[in-house]
């Protein structure tokens, strides 16, 4: 019998300029079906992936940003965003999508999935993982 592992998906890249952000999200969604303990980390330019208001119409490419809001439905509750990465880019959590999950143990109360953490806290988060997948 396999025990549950802590999977961490490490995102450091901005969306659209390269495919990594979108294809990483696809892994997270598939991974959610395996009942592991999943965390998704956004650091460095990865924080740009969560910016609200993305509109790709004039580029003619797919806007995949709405998919982040589905993470809660897939029971992905731990989304870590690095504070220093936000601040050095002139951003705050208010610039990001409001991502939630529903706690079935509390009458499906909506809870925030995004946790803004310092680099030191993020170091601890990474230390607790079993598997780190990067894109």
């Amino acid at each position: 019998m396999s025990s549950i592992k802590k999977f961490c998906y490490l995102n450091r890249k901005a969306p659209y300029g390269t495919v990594y952000a979108w294809e990483a999200l696809e892994v997270v969604l598939i991974g959610a079906a395996f009942d592991q303990d999943c965390s998704v980390v956004f650091t460095d330019d990865g924080v740009y992936q969560l910016l609200k208001g993305q509109d790709t119409a004039d580029l003619g490419i797919k806007n995949f940003s709405p998919t982040y809001s589905a993470l809660g439905d897939y029971d992905i509750r731990k989304i870590y965003v690095e504070k220093e990465s936000l601040e050095e880019r002139g951003l705050s959590v208010d610039d990001l999508q409001h991502l939630v999950w529903e706690d079935e143990d509390e009458d499906y109360a909506e809870k925030d999935s995004i946790m803004v953490v310092t680099k030191d806290e993020l170091a601890q988060v990474l230390d607790e993982q079993d598997v780190v997948l990067s894109f």
Binding site: L10, R12, L122, A123, Q124, L126, V131, S134
Partner: protein, 102 residues
């Protein structure tokens, strides 16, 4: 649970090494490979990233990548340990997990 971090880009090209080191806990290891090896040349403007962390974090560098790029091992920051691919494998075994900073 010590992590082996890997960094494959030069600190002169990207902030990967800086970002990695800022999240590397005491007792962890960082392996420089591919273009990451350039960061370990002594006297470079970015050498401080490694030098300031060296007390807490162990730095390794992949010898075949150093040699491929014509870098002299004698010109690397003191304390950065050169390993070959066997050493790379050993590092993945002796640490609990690998975090590749891409």
């Amino acid at each position: 649970m010590p992590i082996l971090h890997t960094v494959n880009k030069s600190a002169y090209e990207r902030n990967t090494l800086e970002s990695c080191v800022s999240k590397a806990l005491k007792g962890s290891a960082v392996l420089l490979l591919e273009d990451g090896v350039y960061s370990a040349v002594k006297g470079g403007a970015k050498a401080g990233i490694i030098e300031s962390a060296m007390g807490d974090v162990s730095f390794y560098i992949l010898g075949p990548d150093v040699k491929a790029r014509g870098l002299d091992e004698g010109k690397l920051i003191n304390g950065v340990k050169v390993v070959d691919y066997n050493g790379f494998v050993e590092l993945t075994v002796s640490n609990d997990k690998v975090a590749s900073w891409l």
